[in-house]
Subunit: 279 residues, 2 copies
Amino acid sequence: MTTAIRSEFDQGIALTPHPDGAGRYDGELGAGWRIGGGVNGGLLLAFAGHALSLAHTARPESAGHTDPVSISGYYLSSAVPGPATVHTEVIRTGRTLSTGTASLVQGGTERLRVVASHGDLAALDGEVRTTAAAPQLPPPEQCIGVEHAPRELLDQAALLERFDLRLDPATVGWALGQPSGAGRIQGWFRLADGREPDPLLLLLVADALPPVTFDLGMPGWAPTVELTVHLRAKPAAGWLRVVHATRNLAGGYFEEDAEVWDSTGRLVAQSRQLARVPR
Amino acid sequence: MTTAIRSEFDQGIALTPHPDGAGRYDGELGAGWRIGGGVNGGLLLAFAGHALSLAHTARPESAGHTDPVSISGYYLSSAVPGPATVHTEVIRTGRTLSTGTASLVQGGTERLRVVASHGDLAALDGEVRTTAAAPQLPPPEQCIGVEHAPRELLDQAALLERFDLRLDPATVGWALGQPSGAGRIQGWFRLADGREPDPLLLLLVADALPPVTFDLGMPGWAPTVELTVHLRAKPAAGWLRVVHATRNLAGGYFEEDAEVWDSTGRLVAQSRQLARVPR
C-alpha cells in the first residue's frame, strides 16, 4: 500500500464540498502562498476556479466541464492564510461551456468574486493558426533562479519557495538596480516539488512572476483589481515559459499581460490583469 | 423651451430604475444595434455597465463612482431587440472603486453576466508612462467608409448604420477577397449622429469593428464568450482610433484585443475578448 503524497499546489487548492450540498466548498489558504501583505492572487483564482470545476463536474449535464476556459476575478480585499469558503452558483450549462460565479469568503468578508466558463480543453478541435511566437530564452541553467532574489523580496514572498522560477538575465536588471524600462519580465517556470502543469496551475502561473513594474523601476507589490485568464490548451508536462509585459502605465493603474507556453511550444494561456501602481 | 434630442447611443442604453428599488433597471434593446443573429455584445456591455453606474451613483458612499474602470462580461445567450432588464448587486464599495455584478435578462433568460469595478476616471492621477504607440492611420477621408462594405455584411449588421467607421485601406483586403492573414483591422470611429465619446461608449467601441477573423479569411460572425474592457482615461471629444488584433486562433477559439485611442493620442481603453471561430 502506498501513501499518496499530495503536491503543495494540490494541497493549496484542496476543497471539501459542504454537506449542505448548496455549492459551498471549504478549504484552507496556506501561509506558503503569501506575497506582500496577502495570499497570491493567482492561487486565489485557482482556488475559486477549482470550486467551480467541482460544481460543474458534480452535475451530470456538465460532468465533462472540468477546465476553466475563461475565468475573470475581481479582487475585493486581501486574503490571509487560514480557512476560506467558496460559494459557487451555476448560471448556465451549455453543450461545450458551463458558466458560473464563485465568491471566495473568509470570516464573512469577501476576498474575490469570479465569473468563469468551464469546458473540456482536451475536446477542442486541433486547429492552430497562431502568429504569436514563443519567447526566446536562454536555457534554464543559464537563467537566474529565485535563490538569487534580494532577501527583502524573498521575505515578502513565501510563494517563491514553491516555485522553480528561472528568469531571463536580460529582464532582471531591476534586481541589480538597473531596470530596463521596457516593462517585461520573462522566464522558465515549474513547481519546486515537480508537480506537472495542468489548467488550474496555469491560473497561478498567470500571476506568479514579480510585477512588471519592477522592470520600470517601481519596486513594491502591485494590488490586482481584475485578472482574466483564457486557457487555450492543456499544457504538456515539463517547463513552462512565461512572459509578463505592460504597455500602458497611466493614472495609477497598469495592465499586465501574461502568456504561458508549454514544453511543446504551444501557447496554453493568455491573461491580462489591471493592477494598481505600487506606492 | 428646448426639446432634448437624445443620441441614438444614449437611447440605446437608456434605463429606468424599477420602483421596487432593489437594483433593477429596465430598458429596451433597439433593433438598430443588431449584428448577425443578435444584439451587439459591446452595446450589451454598455447597457449593463450603465445600470451599475446608476446603482453606484444612487448611493451616497459611492456617488462619484460613475465610470466603469474594469468590466467583464460573460455572454450566455443571444440578445434580441425588445425589453431587457438588468439586475444589479453591489458587492463592495471602496474609496476609489465600487464593485458590483449585473445580470441582463430578457423574458426570464439571462443574456449576459457582468462583474465590474466602477470609479471616477476624472480623479485619476495624471501620470502617463506608456510604451504603447497609437496606430498610424491615413486621415479619415482616405479611409474606407462602411458604405463601401459588401451588401451582405450591411444586411446583417444594422449597427453599422449608427457608426461613422473608416477602416484603414491596408486592413480591408478581406472585403475584396484578399485577407492579409495578419489578423488586424484598424480604423477611425465616431457615432454617425455626432454624439461625443464617453466611458460607456468605449464599451461599445471595444466590440464595434468587424471580427479580426475576417482578416484571416474566415467570414461570419464570431460569438463572444467573454469580453473585458479596461477604461484607462476619459476620452476627449473627436475621432477615436481603434485597433483590433488577434495572435492566437486555436482549438476553435481566438482572442481579440482592442485598443481605443482618443483624439489627443491617449490610450483610453484596452480590451480583450475570447470568441468562437466562425463556422
